[in-house]
């Protein structure tokens, strides 16, 4: 009887299921299947044994990270940076999307949109080089300008305090276009009748934005934030490594888990130890997303991810 319904379902929804298949296969192949590789984190990897044949060594691979004395600092840095990125980037993206939506003129909108999107395609390596040429003490544009104005140059690359702001700024600049397009799409799909009704009721432009646009954006915001929160313990390696590199002076405020692990293991090439750090990040990420999702669920069941 039960089997019957299962096959019936298959039959009834075969087109829908067929459409789903590529996504399911993709995740099976690239997300679920490789998960078996998690065992590496608990093994002393040797080439002859490979992934499944290497001898187990319990939690030895995790020791390096937790005994370094830096585990807390880099984990905190990673989480704080990502929270800042999520908050600032989303706020700016929503702001930009609303502005673009309200400004008329198709051409103007397209041009601005493309200009904002451009940094998204620039590789972090290039961004790092641009930043160095702008900010370095001796010949950086900023300091040349300051000297020209008769002011004291700023030694940015030796002052850790500037970097949290700089990194948030760079991240916002680079992600702005991408996020804006997503929010713009969400805004465009809002029923225009609501705006018309608001206008008839005498709402001015700000009231329209506050009462119609923003409430209608909530679901999109929540989904995007929830998805981002799952990665809150993963530092954007490309960004941090290319902006900071091996400059030890800046590590106190800029070191994230990924750069820390990379630096520690680049010479020893130990696959087990790097896998252990990855597992640590995944477990933290999993716990966070479950907690946040639970919180959202309690507040409003329909808006949770699952």
């Amino acid at each position: 009887m039960k089997r019957q319904t299962f096959w019936n379902d298959l039959k009834n929804y075969k087109v829908l299921l067929l459409m789903l298949t590529p996504a399911v296969i993709f995740y099976l192949l690239f997300a679920y299947l490789p998960m078996a590789g998690i065992v590496i984190a608990f093994k002393r990897y040797d080439y002859a044994g490979g992934i499944f044949g290497s001898p187990w060594n319990g939690f030895d691979n995790f020791r390096f990270f937790f005994e370094s004395g830096d585990a807390f600092r880099v984990t905190r840095n990673t989480a704080l940076y990502n929270i800042a990125f999520i908050a600032v980037n989303n706020a700016l993206q929503i702001f930009a999307a609303i502005l673009l939506f309200e400004v008329g003129g198709k051409w103007f909108r397209k041009i601005i949109q493309s200009a904002m999107f451009l940094p998204y395609f620039i590789s972090w390596v290039v961004v790092g080089a641009i930043a160095y040429n702008l900010l370095n003490y001796d010949i950086g544009t900023v300091n040349v300008l300051l000297r020209g104005l008769g002011l004291e140059p700023i030694d940015i690359y030796n002052t850790p305090a500037y970097w949290p702001y700089l990194l948030v700024l760079v991240s916002a600049w680079k992600g702005l276009g991408y996020g804006t397009v997503m929010y713009l799409a969400a805004i465009t799909s809002i029923d225009t009748e609501m705006y018309e009704a608001a206008e008839i009721d005498g709402a001015n432009i700000f009231q329209r934005i506050m009462k119609v646009t923003i409430p209608n954006l909530y679901p999109t915001v929540i989904i995007l934030v929830l998805l981002a929160v799952g990665n809150i313990f993963r530092g954007d390696f490309g960004m941090f490594y290319n902006m900071i590199g091996n400059n030890g002076i800046l590590f106190s405020t800029t070191d994230v888990i990924d750069t820390f692990v990379f630096r520690s293991l680049i010479t020893s090439n130990d696959i087990g130890m790097s896998a252990a750090a990855g597992v640590f990040q995944s477990v933290l990420g999993f716990v966070t997303i479950m907690l946040v999702n639970y919180a959202v669920r309690r507040y409003d069941k329909d808006r949770a991810l699952f």
């Binding site: 099976l28 499944f52 044949g53 030895d60 390096f64 002076i249 090439n269």
Partner: protein, 532 residues
């Protein structure tokens, strides 16, 4: 509804399990033959080794059955040379004749070789030979089982000339835990660092000859004060855990050996007991920090040196920096290139600690290893034998085609043609041997300088010691991190208070597990010396 979705979940879960178990089986199957092939290969070679021992040298191919043609694959680091096809076609013609084999090269570009190299071994890809070197993680990869162990019998049987020509000390240096995994290069090479500077600038300001750390400091400070737009010293970029000048001013100056400058330990070359000490706790280090701080305060290097990604050799060539440091071979090549291009700058080499003991590179600086899963071990060894000892093949592999990529000058020199760069820049150095030719245009003074060191080249009991770090990997990773975070800024003069900087550094090192490494290192050294 609930039940249905439960069923679907179950179906998916079962599918997953099946896929996973299938994958697991596959892996087991795949690893079995490779595991079993290893002992059989070594068994066959050791079984047939007894008749080989009685054979006379020079007839490598004679006793071995080469009737079946094989294709060998070798992994090099560095970009694929432009003339790869032409040169390797020539090489293969000769190889086919001699050992009935052909060679195919795979090249790992400099930009990402460090990531790809361990992966090639970890993934057990299909290849026979691989370039290996101490700086490419030779010990580590050998311990992880990436390379095939090479026994004396194998060498005697398949590479009699190499066995005869290679200095015994080279084999010793290449052993990891008493086992050999590499056929090292057969040519001593100096890796001591020198300083290349602008002689024209020195003359311009009437400075004394640069032959000591003090005169070098004077030079740097004078340039900093008077030459706007020229950075007095530019370090090499890379993951160095020490100051770029430490090889000269700490290692050579104090006659220490410093374990590839990877750990904060050293021992005195003359110390027969090989007593290891923490570099950062020495008075010498502290004095050097004062020296560096003074230089940094006088702008001897860029304030943002840690973030600079400038290529120091390019900068020097372009006149943007007034001094760099590297080994003799590299600096000599740069000098000859600059002279060839009629550079407006007069450049000169300086040895700022003359008379101090110099050591030659240990043999694992360059070498060839056999992949642990290679199916053509014999032919691979024979290939290395030919590349190192057969003049024709050696010339082809090292310099390309005669008359196209280079012009032979006598028996031991060559003249670079405009196509020389088309077969250059990748790791063929593992085939270095006494047959090497030298560049005719290589600056005489550079060769003279190295020759004058002959008297200072020092051999010491610990020269062949190799540290097996597998027991203290955790600590090594953490100590390396501390060196980068606290040591490097201190050395580049970016920490205001030297005493506090050193104290901080040592405190952090201690909590990172410095003492554990030191104990392990010392016990291995003691055991090593006791055996000798």
């Amino acid at each position: 509804m609930q039940k249905k979705s439960g069923l679907i979940m179950l179906a998916i879960a079962m599918m997953l399990v099946m896929i996973m178990s299938a994958c697991g089986n596959n892996n087991n199957n795949a690893s079995e033959p490779s595991a079993s092939s290893e002992p059989s290969a070594s068994a066959s070679s050791s079984a047939s080794s007894s008749p080989a021992a009685t054979e006379t040298e020079g007839t490598a191919g004679a006793s071995v059955d080469t009737s079946k043609e094989v294709k060998l694959k070798m992994i090099f680091v560095g970009p694929k040379p432009v003339d790869y096809d032409a040169v390797f076609a020539e090489i293969n013609k000769k190889l086919k004749e001699k050992i009935n084999a052909t060679l195919e090269g795979e090249f790992l570009d400099w930009s990402d070789w460090a990531q790809k190299y361990p992966l090639k071994l970890a993934a057990a890809e299909d290849f026979d030979l691989i370039y290996s070197a101490n700086w490419a993680g030779y010990n580590d990869q050998a311990l992880k089982g990436g390379f095939l162990e090479i026994t004396d019998e194998m060498i005697q049987k398949y590479m009699p000339q190499t066995w005869a020509n290679m200095p015994k000390v080279s084999w010793g240096q290449a052993k990891v835990n008493g086992k050999l995994y590499m056929i090292p290069q057969n040519r001593g090479e100096s890796v001591e660092k020198l300083i290349l500077y602008r002689e024209d600038l020195r003359k311009k300001y009437n400075l004394p000859e640069i032959n000591s750390p003090e005169s070098f400091a004077t030079y740097l400070k004078t340039i900093a004060a008077n030459e706007k737009g020229i950075v007095p010293f530019t370090p090499e970029t890379g993951d160095w855990k020490y100051h770029n000048l430490d090889r000269v001013l700490l290692k050579q100056q104090n006659e220490w050996n410093m374990f590839d400058l990877d750990m904060p330990f050293a021992y005195k070359l003359t110390d027969e007991k090989g007593q290891v000490f923490n570099v950062y706790e020495t008075q010498e280090f502290k004095d050097l920090m004062v020296y560096y701080k003074d230089l940094a305060d006088n702008n001897a290097w860029s304030k943002n040196v840690l973030n600079s990604k400038n290529d120091h050799q390019q900068d020097f060539k372009a006149g943007k920096t007034a001094s760099i440091t590297h080994n003799n071979g590299t600096l000599g090549a740069l000098m000859s290139q600059m002279r060839l291009e009629n550079s407006p700058y007069e450049v000169k080499l300086a040895d700022i600690n003359q008379g101090k003991k110099k050591s030659v590179a240990i043999s694992t600086q360059n070498g060839t290893s056999i992949h642990a899963t290679s199916k053509n071990v014999e032919r691979s060894l024979m290939l290395i034998e030919l590349m190192q000892n057969d003049k024709e093949l050696h010339d082809l592999m090292m310099y390309g085609i005669s008359g196209v990529n280079y012009e032979p000058v006598g028996d031991d020199k060559y003249k670079a043609t405009d196509k020389f760069q088309n077969f250059y820049g990748f790791s063929n150095w593992n085939f270095n041997s006494p047959l090497n030719r030298t560049d005719e245009a290589f600056p005489q003074e550079a060769s003279d300088l190295v020759n004058s060191w002959e008297a200072d080249v020092y051999h010491y009991p610990l020269e062949t010691f190799v540290f097996d770090n597998s027991k203290v990997k955790t600590e090594i990773a953490n100590v390396g991190n501390v060196m980068l975070r606290y040591g490097i800024p201190l050395e580049y003069g970016l920490v205001k208070d030297i005493d506090k900087g050193i104290a901080d550094l040592n405190k952090q090192l201690k909590s990172a597990g410095l003492e554990k490494i030191q104990t392990e290192l010392q016990s291995q050294i003691d055991a090593f010396l006791a055996k000798q």
